[in-house]
């Protein structure tokens, strides 16, 4: 008898002729996620992926697999050659095991017969195993509707017995959908935006804007911490850091105060687009959400959007803050995001930023600046850093 982890992947099944491409990517990512845990057997069989495990590393392996995009659910299972007597014994053992850990009064056997050559039908299998359990454990009865525990029995090329189904995040294997450049700030939203898009199979790079020395180096450290957390889902990626201060100083000197934020946003987008094209990214990703702040009103978004030609993915656009926070907590970025270091200097924050900017006015203000030279200078002074996968 072997201990295995059954890994199910939903959507990929629908991919027709491309199916094996997606499957192979997924296997590769699972192998990568487990690469430091010794030699593990990871393999594909009948539209599922299996990992052989031992008692001592099972939980650690499950935790890692849960994070791989494309994984829909996971079940730690026992696998052995098909034999009815054996199945009964394993099910009984599984139940007795669970009984020691928690109170179980009712149970249910759920059988699935993948191998139609097996002589019994699924309901018959369940009935026979259930009967055997009842004969051997007094304290427990059957409840097919709301059992305390459901033991699953699957008969395929081997027999599988399991009682747990742990949800993964779903989505598509990373890198099956090109690459996007995430505008990553130290806030709550942008890491969530990056995570959501990455979950759809888009590999990430990130760009970060700061105003050193008007902001602290700790603010950058915070962004790196957030990037590291994203890397636990997306693997290692590149983080570009741009100092926006020289640009902000120019805007501060030459443009109307209330346009500071919107002009800065346009610069960020333009710089991001150049970096995206250089790094072969196919889209920009931002954490913008309608109406959250002055620079995210529909008018502001319109003006920001006009700055670039690349598609801009805004997965949070219609989400409420509380829902964004919930995801941030789920993916573990929330605690870091709420640390107090600010990445964007408050010195330049206008008291009353424009909420309904007019594109013509903003474009006119840009004529007061040497946009091209400022962008080039910012990119020349850019820092790059590889965010490594540290588990």
């Amino acid at each position: 008898m072997e201990k295995v982890i059954i890994i199910r992947y939903g959507e990929i099944m629908l991919k027709g002729l491309n199916k094996s491409y997606f499957e192979n990517k997924l296997v590769k990512h699972i192998r990568h996620a487990l690469s430091d845990l010794g030699k593990l057997k990871v393999y594909k069989e009948h539209s599922r992926i299996y990992v052989n495990v031992e008692e001592y590393n099972e939980n650690q392996i499950i935790e890692r697999i849960k994070r791989v995009f494309g994984v829909v659910s996971i079940s730690p299972a026992k696998r052995f050659p098909v034999d009815m007597e054996n199945i009964k014994k394993v099910v009984l053992g599984e139940l007795q095991d669970k009984l020691q850990k928690k109170v179980i009064k009712t149970f249910k056997i759920e059988s699935k017969r993948g191998d139609k050559k097996f002589p019994m039908k699924s309901p018959e299998i369940s009935r026979e195993i259930g009967g055997f359990v009842l004969e051997n454990i007094d304290s427990i009865s059957v409840d097919v509707h709301r059992p305390d525990i459901a033991i699953n029995v699957e008969i395929r090329n081997n027999a599988f017995v399991f009682s747990e189904k742990i949800n993964g995040f779903g989505g598509l294997p990373l890198g099956t959908n090109g690459k996007g450049l995430l505008l990553l700030s130290g806030g709550i939203d942008s890491p969530v935006a990056g995570w959501l898009v990455a979950k759809r199979g888009v590999a990430l790079e990130a760009i970060h804007f700061h105003s050193y020395p008007f902001t602290s180096e700790r603010a950058k450290e915070k962004v790196i911490d957030l990037a590291r957390m994203l890397a636990t889902y997306c693997g290692e990626f590149k983080l570009h850091s741009i100092n926006l201060l020289p640009i902000q100083k120019e805007i501060n000197e030459k443009c109307p105060e209330e346009e500071m934020t919107i002009l800065s946003r346009r610069f960020m987008m333009k710089i991001a687009e150049r970096i995206a094209l250089k790094s072969k990214c196919d889209a920009l990703i931002t954490g913008e959400s309608i109406g959250q702040v002055a620079s995210q009103t529909v008018n502001s978004l319109q003006v920001t959007n006009e700055a670039v030609n690349l598609p801009v993915f805004r997965p949070l656009i219609a989400m409420d803050k509380v829902d964004i926070i919930q995801i941030a907590k789920q993916i573990n970025t929330y605690e870091t995001s709420i640390l107090p270091f600010e990445d964007c200097c408050t010195v330049f924050l206008p008291k009353h930023p424009v909420t309904k900017p007019k594109l013509e006015k903003i474009l006119y203000s840009e004529t007061l600046l040497n946009v091209e030279a400022l962008i080039n200078e910012a990119i020349e002074n850019m820092d790059e850093e590889i965010i490594e996968l540290e588990i």
């Binding site: 020395p213 902001t215 010195v347």
Partner: protein, 385 residues
């Protein structure tokens, strides 16, 4: 080039301190509790350091307990005292300008039912003795006041405070957070008439992670850490031997050169203040050049320039100072000390702290002030609000 002017935050360990630490790791690695020679040789060294610390503070060696630093020493002195003496009364006193390690303890004790008096300070940073006198009662069991304030350098009149306490309630005990005063002021705990006093190694060129508490032999405290009974049963846990070795060396150097070092610090402070006053405009210096203020801390507000921006600008030049508040739009992060001194927001916003070591030079100070002047001028132009 590096110009380190943040010596109230921490200091650079001297070579001798480092050598002592390395020695304890490379050769003298025994456990002082071991019965064999390897342990006993270390125990002897620890005793030697204990004697040195007691000499520096002017007390008996049995009255010194090694801790992990100032915070733990404060915890042991306050929490440990209250734990052992809670039956004597329910009132404890401190000031509004204490270090967080003391204030958090008091806030915690407040939650568990103690009556607390937080003494006000005046605009110059000195606790109100009148308020102290008025708040002391038979119910008071403990007063905790810092010796030198870490942000503005004001020296609290410890001896006077001790006398007031003894007069109003002889049973009440007096703890002093002495983390910023050791090596900067010549004193003796017996003269000051304090019952306990905390010090921390890394504030005077020793290693981090080691400190000590002087605790008068007549003052009963309960341990916070329980275990093998080390440190006269007051602080269990295998001794931080590398820390104690390093601390020993730092204390030795301190005893040998204290008076010269203080003279050097006073000269440097006078030079710095003179330079600031002649080179810069629109400034407020909160740390005066008289003997009511410690010789190593200079708090100066560069009005109109947010202190954190100044700090980061100076850091680009290799000049390291500290700020009174963190750059934040949410209005948090203001220094509780400067607020207690009733400074205006604009003053607090722009206050930087320069803190000296006797290893600093006039050249370094000259360079730092030149850079401050440069940044003040350019930043005042940019920051329009």
């Amino acid at each position: 080039m590096e110009t380190y002017l943040d010596n109230a935050a921490t200091t650079k360990p001297t070579d001798k301190v480092i050598e002592a630490v390395v020695k304890s790791l490379k050769e003298m690695y025994g456990n002082p509790s071991s019965l064999h020679r390897k342990g006993i040789e270390v125990e002897k060294e620890i005793k030697k350091t204990r004697r040195l610390v007691s000499k520096a503070l002017g007390c008996n060696e049995k009255e010194i307990v090694f801790t992990s630093g100032g915070t733990e020493a404060n915890n042991l002195a306050i929490k440990g005292f209250v734990k052992a003496n809670n039956r004597l009364g329910n009132h404890i006193i401190t000031s509004k300008i204490e270090h967080k390690s003391v204030l958090s303890l008091y806030e915690d004790l407040e939650k568990s039912g103690y009556n607390i008096t937080y003494l006000d300070v005046d605009q110059e940073g000195f606790v109100s003795l009148k308020q102290l006198q008025e708040s002391l009662s038979d119910d008071t069991i403990l007063v905790s006041i810092m010796h030198v304030n870490n942000e503005v350098g004001s020296i609290q009149p410890i001896k006077e405070i001790a006398e007031i306490i003894k007069e109003k309630n002889p049973k009440a005990r007096f703890h002093v957070d002495g983390v910023q005063s050791i090596g900067k002021i010549v004193y003796c705990v017996k003269d000051l008439q304090v019952d306990s006093l905390s010090i921390s190694g890394h504030k005077f060129h020793g290693p981090k992670g080691i400190g000590a508490l002087y605790i008068n032999k007549d003052t009963r405290i309960s341990p916070i850490f329980l275990g093998g009974g080390q440190e006269f049963n007051l602080r269990s846990g295998t001794e931080n031997v590398p820390g104690i070795f390093g601390l020993g060396e730092a204390v030795k150097e301190l005893i040998e050169n204290q008076e010269n070092n203080i003279k050097t610090l006073n000269n440097l402070k006078a030079y710095l203040i003179d330079l600031i006053e002649t080179e810069l405009e629109d400034i407020i210096i909160s740390s005066k050049l008289d003997d009511r203020y410690a010789p190593h801390i200079i708090n100066v507000a560069l009005l109109g320039v947010k202190s954190e921006i100044m700090l980061h600008s100076l850091e680009m030049d290799g000049v390291f100072v500290s700020s009174g508040s963190a750059c934040s739009s949410k209005g948090k992060g203001y220094s509780h000390v400067l607020e207690a001194m009733q400074m205006k927001r604009s003053h607090i916003d722009s206050a930087i702290r320069i803190s000296l070591s006797h290893f600093n030079t006039k050249e370094e100070i000259f360079f730092a002030v030149k850079r401050i002047k440069y940044h003040v001028n350019s930043l005042r132009q940019i920051i329009r609000r």
